[in-house]
């Protein structure tokens, strides 16, 4: 029997894998991929909560759609940033970027 906890554990694991990717990768595009994984993990949780706790309503799914919308916008802007940086510095490695210093 698959319970809510199974989904939550799966979501947690996926989230942590995404987090690891976002923290540990050099390539800016790979960092974005990690963030996408994290957002997906959240979505799994939302939908699972919806399914197991409140099946009569679709609130969780609505939230998931909002997350997807935000993710789409985020990816679009993020990738535009990556392109812009790349054009200026011919580099898409995040760890060479220290513009937040000082």
């Amino acid at each position: 029997m698959i319970t809510l906890n199974h989904y939550l554990a799966l979501g947690g694991l996926l989230f942590c894998i995404g987090l690891f990717g976002a923290l540990a990768k050099k390539n800016a595009v790979a960092v974005l991929m990690g963030i996408e994984l994290m957002l997906n993990a959240v979505n799994i949780n939302l939908v699972a909560f919806n399914h197991f706790l409140e099946p009569a309503r679709v609130t969780g799914q609505v939230f998931a759609i909002f997350v997807i919308v935000v993710a789409a916008a985020e990816v679009a802007v993020g990738l535009a940033l990556v392109l812009n940086i790349y054009r200026r510095r011919l580099e898409s490695n995040v760890d060479d970027l220290d513009w937040m210093k000082w």
């Binding site: 698959i2 906890n5 989904y7 939550l8 554990a9 799966l10 947690g12 694991l13 996926l14 989230f15 942590c16 894998i17 995404g18 987090l19 990717g21 923290l23 540990a24 990768k25 050099k26 390539n27 595009v29 790979a30 991929m33 990690g34 996408e36 994984l37 997906n40 979505n43 799994i44 939908v47 919806n50 399914h51 197991f52 706790l53 099946p55 009569a56 309503r57 679709v58 799914q61 609505v62 759609i65 909002f66 997807i68 919308v69 935000v70 993710a71 789409a72 916008a73 990816v75 679009a76 802007v77 990738l79 535009a80 990556v82 392109l83 812009n84 790349y86 054009r87 200026r88 011919l90």
Partner: protein, 168 residues
């Protein structure tokens, strides 16, 4: 019936986790992108298991379609050097691994000790209809805000991607 659900769940979970790990661990960023698509598809499968068919469709369309294509484009446009070493770890990867792992353990322990008030009732019948009613009813304002966000994101992306005047 439960056996089938469980079987599919484990299968999809295995696909999702394995491909997610592949996304993170592979050194070729093109391969990572491909496995990302696979992860998205697996998640869509999970949505179906959770009886959210509309969401599964959106997942396939938006993630596996649009976002994945966008990412592949970005990879193509920013490609330099050896593609086989295009997706390496930075110096902090060990610390990142530890932090991620501990976070997962904590989350797993926390959720594992929870007992949820689960109810198994009938669904709303039509997912699409219910979501449409939610968006045009109680969630109309957030819906519009999301639309504006998309518009702003699009404009911003175009501006950023076009670059400054000195680049032209």
């Amino acid at each position: 019936m439960p056996d089938t659900t469980a079987l599919f769940f484990w299968l999809l979970a295995a696909i999702v986790i394995a491909s997610a790990l592949a996304v993170v661990l592979l050194k070729n960023i093109v391969h990572s992108a491909l496995f990302l698509v696979l992860t998205f598809a697996g998640v869509a499968g999970l949505y179906i298991l959770l009886s959210a068919e509309f969401l599964a469709a959106v997942q396939i369309l938006v993630y596996a379609g649009a976002i994945a294509v966008l990412i592949v484009f970005a990879i193509m446009l920013t490609r330099r050097g050896d593609i086989r070493a295009s997706n390496l770890f930075n110096v902090n990867y060990l610390a990142a691994a530890v932090v991620s792992l501990v976070l997962f353990v904590i989350a797993a322990l926390a959720t594992g000790r929870m007992t949820w008030m689960t109810t198994t009732g009938p669904g709303p019948g039509s997912n699409v209809g219910a979501i449409a009613e939610a968006f045009l009813g109680p969630y109309a304002v957030p819906f519009e805000v999301a639309a504006i966000l998309l518009l702003v994101g699009m404009v911003g992306a175009i501006l950023l991607a076009r670059g400054g005047k000195q680049d032209q």
